[in-house]
């Protein structure tokens, strides 16, 4: 077979394998990135995970409760300040979170500018569409809310090791069994990710012929099937390993938390901020501050 065609067809038949592989690698890298930042010596890293979970999640809820842009943007700014104080690289944050949210939600929000009924603000020349004040406000609501909440929730995982997040969840009255399942799920995501990666890498090196759509779907479904079978075997082995060390269905865990004075201080700080933001968010008159009409 001619060399160029074989290279060409390999690229073609391999697209879904390649894409999946890239996706798998990226997920692992992202997790490693998070673990590195969680070990940095920043403001949020020093706080008790329970305080962080309660504080940051309350702020997320506050953002969704706000009925004016000023409050949403203020909490967003607070998130950025917290990120800087916690040594989260802002460039990474901008690339990974802000830009991707802006592209996704921004694209969704564009038509809103034109189709929302309200006071005309601007008429686009040539096509003659009209942007309304309400349309613009609504698009800003959506994008700013998404940016603010995404920043706050990513701060939580970037500045807290996953094991602490898990233990902290228990203060939100998430049942122990659920917390244990979450922890084990996260653990086995990495094992299964690795298995999947090995499988796809082996697949990539073997895919030389041209595959038609049917064969490609066959391979994709087969890969999932192999992974499912392996997962089933894995769960059985894990089950035995747990039993072997005395597991009988109920899980017991150690709680290793101590609230320091700075944690109480931080908790009070979060309470004040959340209280202020909730109050501010209910002031519809504030809309005039940023009302663009």
């Amino acid at each position: 077979m001619n060399k160029t065609t074989s290279a060409k067809s390999r690229r073609h038949s391999g697209t879904f394998v390649e894409r999946t592989l890239t996706g798998l690698v990226r997920k692992t890298e992202r997790a490693l990135f998070a673990e590195e930042i969680a070990r940095a010596d920043g403001l949020l890293q020093r706080l008790d995970p329970r305080v962080k979970i309660v504080g940051l999640l309350s702020l997320v809820v506050t953002v969704t409760l706000s009925r004016n842009l000023f409050t949403i943007l203020s909490v967003f700014a607070l998130g950025v300040i917290l990120a800087v104080l916690s040594k989260v690289p802002v460039r990474e944050l901008a690339l990974r979170i802000w830009l991707s949210a802006l592209f996704f939600t921004g694209a969704i929000a564009v038509p809103v500018l034109f189709i929302t009924a309200g006071e005309p603000l601007l008429r686009i020349p040539l096509i003659g569409w009209t942007i309304t004040a309400q349309g613009l406000t609504s698009a800003l609501y959506l994008t700013s809310r998404v940016e603010a909440t995404a920043t706050l929730s990513i701060l939580l995982v970037l500045c807290t090791s996953w094991s602490s997040v898990l233990k902290g969840l228990r203060v939100l009255h998430v049942p122990v069994v659920f917390v244990v399942i979450l922890g084990m799920t996260y653990r086995y995501i990495f094992v299964i990710l690795e298995t999947a990666r090995d499988m796809f890498e082996a697949r990539r090196s073997r895919l030389v012929g041209r595959l038609d759509g049917r064969e490609r779907r066959h391979i994709a479904a087969g890969s999932i099937g192999v992974l499912l079978t392996k997962s089933f075997y894995l769960h059985h082995e894990v089950f035995l390993a747990m039993q072997s060390r005395g597991f009988r269905g109920e899980v017991y865990v150690l709680d290793e938390f101590a609230m320091h004075s700075r944690d109480w201080l931080a908790l009070a700080g979060f309470a004040v901020l959340v209280g202020a933001a909730v109050w501010l968010g209910r002031q519809e008159s504030l809309q005039t501050l940023l009302n663009l009409s």
Binding site: S231, F247, G249
Partner: protein, 363 residues
């Protein structure tokens, strides 16, 4: 499909958390009773599995790829209760750790994809696969359709959740506070993508995995198919074909909208006229459990309903002018068009490659 934070109002999120909670509790109890000590490792590993396969690119007819949620597979292997827990856990880790899907919207995402998705998938799999042998081709079709129906049911719910936001939540100036598109836009916008790309990815994943397990590990399929007759290994089986699946899919595309029409104005499909008509308002109030809709139709909705009914001539029967028809038609046109185009493009490229390989000399 993973709804981020900020798209739904806190009230909607709270309602959907409340709606999901009893399912979680019941599922946890049932699975605990069924699996006993095995529950924790089984759910953990399957949630991890679901998480990983959500990242798989599934090749679709025509050369594109799409992602599957894996709810069809989970429901077929674990049954509805295990499936809803495993998918919920996978969604929670995505939300908490990887920022896919919101934290306040976790209840909504779980309700749509994990809970309703698992129930719909189970129902379809049981009905279509009823009484079939474990290795029957009909089970492949049943699983594929189960995945397809589940993902579309979930997308439909999500689109309703989006669509009611501008009706219910706006600020003093009338600007929508959350997802800004009314039902007439939200439903077709969500459904076109899911009836085609996402739905078919889910269909291929679920059907393909069942076909794979039939060959390599049929015992994994027995858990959700206790009614399957014992295997007759002496019978020679004809090679499997995906054709029944595609026929079933086509039937589903046609029947779903017909069902909606037969049921009258589907829930959530309130036209601007309905909001003004007192009888219809009362009907909406009952179906939305006592919460009265705003009395004046939002201007945007009134205008938008026209977009979808505009091409229908005035002399057509009256029911054709409703927004429900508009969305059904656009969804059908949209999905049909995408399939046609992708198939044509795939066929075109396929032919060109064929030529290329046959004319190049073989060394």
């Amino acid at each position: 499909m993973h709804i981020p934070d900020g798209y739904l109002s806190p009230e909607t999120c709270a309602v959907l958390y409340a709606a999901a909670a009893p399912f979680w509790v019941v599922a946890l109890r049932r699975i605990k009773r069924l699996l006993n000590t095995r529950m924790v490792p089984l759910l953990s590993v399957f949630a991890a599995f679901s998480f990983v396969i959500m990242m798989f690119n599934i090749p679709l007819p025509g050369g594109t790829t799409g992602h599957a949620i894996g709810v069809g597979i989970a429901a077929v292997v674990l049954g509805p209760w295990g499936s809803m827990l495993a998918i919920s856990v996978a969604l929670l880790i995505q939300a908490l750790f990887f920022g896919d899907g919101g934290i306040t919207a976790f209840g909504a995402n779980s309700f749509n994809m994990a809970i309703v998705g698992s129930l719909v998938a189970t129902a379809v799999y049981r009905v279509v696969g009823r009484g079939a042998e474990i290795t029957a081709t009909r089970r492949v079709a049943a699983a594929g359709l189960a995945g397809y129906a589940a993902i579309n049911a979930a997308a439909f719910l999500a689109s309703i959740e989006f669509g009611i936001q501008p009706l219910l939540f706006h600020d003093a100036s009338g600007a929508p506070l959350y997802a800004p598109y009314p039902l007439a836009i939200a439903i077709p916008a969500m459904m076109i993508g899911h009836l085609t790309i996402a739905g078919i990815a889910e269909l291929i994943a679920a059907g393909g995995v069942v076909a794979y397990l039939q060959r390599s590990n049929p015992s994994l399929l027995k858990f959700t198919a206790p009614d399957a007759p014992e295997l007759d290994s002496t019978r020679v089986r004809t090679p499997r074909s995906m054709r029944p699946l595609w026929i079933g899919l086509a039937a589903l595309m046609i029947l779903t909208p017909l069902g909606l029409l037969a049921a009258g104005t589907a829930w959530g499909e309130w036209s601007a006229n309905d909001l003004a008509d007192p009888a219809a308002r009362e009907h909406i109030t009952t179906v939305s459990q006592g919460q009265a809709p705003p009395s004046a139709p939002p201007e945007g909705l009134a205008r938008l309903s026209e977009i979808w009914t505009a091409p229908i001539p005035d002399y057509a029967p009256a029911f054709l002018s409703s927004p429900a028809v508009g969305y059904v038609l656009s969804a059908m046109f949209g999905s049909g068009l995408v399939i046609l185009v992708t198939t044509f493009v795939g066929w075109l490229f396929g032919r060109r490659r064929e030529k290329l390989t046959t004319t190049t000399p073989i060394e």
